[in-house]
Symmetry: C2
Subunit: 547 residues, 2 copies
């Protein structure tokens, strides 16, 4: 029936797909409220897992149909997407004070860059890190609470409000390191966020149908609740200490705050190194909480990593056009006075900015494209991949600064050359950390990658080529600008314009290269096609593909 | 098996869900490339519809496995989400030049507001409209092209680059209405966007596996292709006329551009009124294209409406904090000189801005919350609902202006009173158009709403209360500010702080109100519970619920 209605229009197809649900929901009337409110683009996973439960729960519901809560249970999909959008914008936004730093015309970039590096860029990077730590905590929380109702949605909005205020309090703290107020405000923000999260957990455990199914079915709910609350409350309690110390001895409170942010990473690093050194792998007890482990291979919601990355790429791509829209529409009176009523002449002044806009949009767009291609092949994201993703995004967030710099200085000056080189460095590292994600995924390829991109396939080589294109081009441009310092900007613009076309013909190039290499190493070819090369030394994948 | 593994950890559950696919993809090796690359949070719909096709296509693929294209087919889900994020940011961003207008202290707001209204606000609203028209065209295009490959992704990025540049060219055109350059740039942008879209359609029809399944299975592919190309090329051709006329007679080219934007709406309005007047409903021929009809009930991708709205709400919620982060971190030297090294005193200067930030975030967050609740109940979005959604979002986009105004003027001045009133008006209309969406959905509730929110249910009354809370509160605040002009700002702040709590207890309030009303009209109660009231006079739903 469903197959034949493919010929009918879209509406009837979707109603055909809904049809199997209808008799079920008619038969079990109380079930309606909860099962149908789940949005259609929800995880299939959740949908399937909930079906067996619904039958038993519907009795409960029909008995206690007047009880509040059940009727308003919702999928958390859109709430999380909105939160991701907010957090990604806030993480990226602290580049604005850096990018909008005004340079004096007679000032050398080298000197002003040092001033920038010491304070503003460090503040930007730290803010990015702190916001992503808050984001990771948010992911952990909503891996435990899988469904929401109105109260949770409102609590989450309150949490978001404070997270978006965090960068401001942090930059206050960084600007006035010796003033207690900055650190107090920052700690207050973090503490309230922690308390709201604890409240969400308490609320979730008092309404168990909102919880993750695994916890919901477990008999150790009280244990889970205590354990999760302990982990969540660690941060606000340490912030309380920090704020107490800020009155007594301000240095101690900074150390406490640093511990809050870095401790999970450091302890996991040490544990990992220890395990590698001893050789033995300590297994977790089967009873432990599957979330809140801070283990590098802890699963991370792939959907949310994508949503967060999309937000960062989108806001970075539009930051320059925001500036252009606000500043570069010339005033009619100025055009009349200074440019003899010639709009063309007035706009020519801003020529470099338009070029920088198109260049920045193309670069950000293509880095997004590479990220998109990468995540198409990924089946499961891990904490470590998330970390590399954060680093890559932090560099992507630096691009508006790079492009502001490239059009800030007069043509052919020493400063412009350096600005171009900084842009190359930023693009290089943004691309390199994307490559690092891929390498991390390859280490556990059986769990994290689709079968057809594992070692040895044609898609594998193509993906590798996509990922290495930007680092290679950025490195090449950097070297060229050092050698041919006279033509540096033209080389940079050529790179900007050329790369999209390189992506278009990349598939062709990879195929030609593979054919050439196979032709050279002809006898090895048949082995390659049948036996996929085992994982191991993942740092030489090119060799492994062709030999 | 799947049920029992609910007890196991998350990874094994998801692999259990993937298992049904595995034998299939092992059996049909060539199929791997296409079927598994589809992301997991993709529409179930698409997944199910494609299954029967895969068997027949896999033969083709295994025969022509060396042919380019098949192996790189991808779900368009994430590409569209990214496009939605970009377009929503760009649509909202033109409020910045309006919000950042500097007011002279001695200037009356009334006068400066008139100056604002005549140019900047009109430019903002027109830009918003134009960008949403481009967005609607993008939706139509990707309802025809349902799967993408690398070439299409790159073409789409090029299209996005030009769409994000559109607001700038439009504001140039609006600032210099008598200059040919602005109109030429705008027309050039629109024409290139149209050409890229035509290219995408041509590419899609030359690789039919990328197309919508309905068109793919149809025998009239050539007809569809011609028809869609005709509709798409209409806009660039009219822009070509407009740019030719701009050299001869500039007024004519403006008329042509206005026709481009409004013609579909006007013609549909006239057709609808005509149909209502005559009474007869002209049926579309069964052979016509299901998309590109411009009919008010034409289906609109619900997912994309949500993604676009989320983008607008997210950027509006963060616009104020962007300003605060950039401007309100005081300079250490200034604090030392002017405030006697007291950071508290320096920050007190910005007090109203922080309050405005929290107020704006709460309002935007709650308007998002209402929108979210509304779309949880909607099963299918239509073109007309999309139009009301656009209007609502345009007013939401005006909120940063309102909040800039409320803290711009000295306390208790006549200007501040007016700023508060403007804020109320903006909130009122943003809420009213959300209510209009709900009413539109009720008109065709069998198609567009979940069964449990149709007339007569408890959820229906609750949804209505949620939707009418903000318009009522805004109207009440407006009236109070007129009557008690002395306390206007305190009333406004009370509203900002009180509304979130109102939402928390709303469910309780609605229940109490319903119980009271039912108690008053006791005999009618039993009829209500069984027979759902038919649609018709949807303007009095409260009465229909309780009587």
């Amino acid at each position: 029936m469903c197959v034949s209605s493919v010929f009918a229009n879209r509406t009837s197809v979707s109603s055909c797909l809904r049809r199997p649900l209808t008799p079920h929901s008619v038969a079990v009337m109380g079930d309606n409220d909860e099962s149908e409110i789940i949005e259609h683009h929800d995880d299939e996973e959740m949908e399937k897992m909930r079906t067996p439960r619904n039958h038993s729960q519907s009795f409960l519901e029909s008995v206690a149909s007047s009880k509040d809560g059940y009727s308003s249970t919702q999928s958390s999909h859109r709430l999380l997407a909105y939160s991701d959008a907010l957090i990604s914008i806030i993480a990226t936004v602290m580049i604005l004070p850096v990018a909008h730093t005004k340079f004096q015309d007679n000032e050398e970039l080298k000197q002003s860059l040092q001033a920038l590096l010491t304070t503003k860029i460090a503040v930007y990077l730290m803010t990015f890190l702190i916001v992503t730590v808050a984001w990771a905590a948010h992911i952990r929380l909503f891996q435990v609470i899988e469904r929401i109702d109105d109260t949770l949605a409102l609590l989450n909005l309150a949490c978001m409000m404070l997270i978006t205020f965090l960068p401001y309090t942090f930059s206050l703290m960084a600007t006035f390191p010796n003033n207690t107020l900055g650190i107090l405000l920052f700690c207050a923000c973090v503490m309230v966020i922690g308390l709201i999260q604890a409240l969400i957990v308490l609320y979730g455990f008092s309404h168990p149908f909102l919880l993750n199914d695994q916890i919901q079915m477990s008999e150790n709910q009280a244990y889970y609740k205590r354990r999760i609350l302990e982990i969540i409350m660690r941060v606000p309690i340490m912030c309380l200490f920090a704020s107490v110390f800020s009155v007594i001895l301000i240095q101690v409170s900074y150390i406490v705050l640093a511990i809050v942010i870095f401790l999970p990473y450091i302890s996991q690093c040490l544990k990992w190194i220890g395990n590698k050194a001893i050789g033995g792998q300590v297994e977790d007890s089967p009873d432990s909480v599957p979330f809140y482990t801070y283990h590098p291979s802890e699963p991370l919601s792939k959907e949310r990593v994508e949503a967060f990355s999309d937000g960062v790429y989108a806001i970075v791509a539009t930051l320059l056009i925001l500036d252009i829209c606000e500043d570069n529409v010339p005033d009619p009176s100025v055009v009349k006075k200074e440019f003899d009523n010639s709009l063309v002449a007035a706009l020519q002044e801003n020529g470099p900015e338009y070029l920088a806009y198109f260049g920045s949009f193309a670069t950000v767009g293509l880095l997004w494209f590479v990220h998109h291609s990468l995540f198409l092949h990924v089946t499961k994201a891990t904490r470590l991949m998330g970390l590399f993703n954060t680093f890559s995004l932090a560099f992507v967030g630096g691009l508006p600064l790079a492009y502001q710099l490239t059009h800030e200085f007069p043509r052919g000056s020493h400063n412009e050359l350096e600005a171009v080189q900084i842009s190359c460095v930023i693009i290089f590292f943004a691309g390199l950390f994307q490559l690092a994600m891929w390498v991390t995924a390859l280490f556990t390829e059986r769990e994290t990658l689709h079968p057809y991109v594992r070692y040895g396939g044609r898609e594998h080589a193509f993906m590798l080529a996509k990922l290495s294109l930007y680092p290679c081009v950025a490195l090449g441009t950097f070297v060229f600008t050092c050698v041919l310092s006279r033509f540096s900007t033209s080389i940079f613009h050529m790179m900007e314009i050329g790369v999209p076309f390189a992506f278009l013909v990349l598939r062709l190039l990879v195929r030609v290269a593979l054919v050439l290499l196979r032709w050279l190493f002809c006898p090895a070819r048949n082995d390659l096609d049948r036996v996929p090369v085992e994982e191991g030394d993942s740092h030489l994948p090119i060799n492994e593909i062709v030999t």
